[in-house]
Symmetry: C2
Subunit: 203 residues, 2 copies
Amino acid sequence: MTPERNSAKKRSYHHGNLPAALIDAGLKLIEKKGVRALTLREIGARVGVSRMAAYRHFSDKADLLAAIREAGFAQFADALEQARSKAGKTFALRLKAMAFAYVRFAAEHPAHFEVMFSWSPHQPTPPSPAGARAFGILEKTIREGQQSSDVRQGDSVMLARLVWAQVHGVSMLRLAPDLTPKGAGTRFVEFCSEILATGLAQT
Amino acid sequence: MTPERNSAKKRSYHHGNLPAALIDAGLKLIEKKGVRALTLREIGARVGVSRMAAYRHFSDKADLLAAIREAGFAQFADALEQARSKAGKTFALRLKAMAFAYVRFAAEHPAHFEVMFSWSPHQPTPPSPAGARAFGILEKTIREGQQSSDVRQGDSVMLARLVWAQVHGVSMLRLAPDLTPKGAGTRFVEFCSEILATGLAQT
DNA sequence: ACCTGAACACCGTTCAAGT
DNA sequence: ACCTGAACACCGTTCAAGT
């Protein structure tokens, strides 16, 4: 009796999964015009909903962006994890695979990457659980490298930060001349991985 | 006879050097609230001028930001140059000095740094002359390192990009735990320089 | 519970006008 | 030449109201 499921003659009052739809529409708009040009009004229009609907699910625009950011870090951590597990078992192979995964993620998901790492000292990034997970994967790899004597002894967190900074710099500065969405910076990333591994090895 | 210089009984009609004053006020506001919160109106108010005055000197807000950015790169290149010339003459010392200068600039001039490297794939950074100069200083140092056999042979531009990416990543991610405006990340930067130099040395 | 419309205090930018 | 004021088309966000 309750009119819960209409046979879609008109799009239902509820939107099924509005939060997810808003995040998705937001990502597509960022990809097209950049975060700076993102407006709640346009997201709403794209999803077919009032400009105010977002406020039922997110406290404000910053909160929506935080959700986009966290979803990005989750995907990102998955990509790193997958690259690691698919790679051979030596430290050098794992490092290279993860470096590729990092740079490739930046190239393939520019909108997510832009939100995840948009930089300002004033809105200091609240710590992201998924971001911490991603870093943990890298740090674990470093520790294994130390056990197999591929990496010098020392603070594995510091060593992991160094590696993170390297690949992050490459991604942000788009320094790989052969960096394209589908064939991500092959030569330059390989070059960096090799030099990094050499530096890490020495005691 | 012409009323050109009044004895400052009221602030003169012209502002002396309005463009420089606008850039300066902009920097201070960015430092306080971030680029995102920067408004032409507030800059104008701060300088004591109408919100429209900026349009006499800059074509729009983006153009003012570009001027800020370029000024930042000029200061930045100077800082690198100075660090290089003050350092000892070995490659290792120069590399370390420049790494410090990079990270310290980011820490001491957060507003400039934010504008210089604010990231979006959609407003692809127009090439900056001063930015190119800064990169050139680094690349020259790499070439000298190759001549003194401190750095492996190979494409010096690629090698310089690698170093740039490393220090840039450190600066952006604020990975140095001991990074403060005045005592910039001493231990971590030293750590990175050493590992980097080791990796660069090997053939 | 979930969504909407009108209203408010902001933006950047254009344009005609002042000195 | 350099600056201003009013006006326009946008924002994010609040609030009372609709289903």
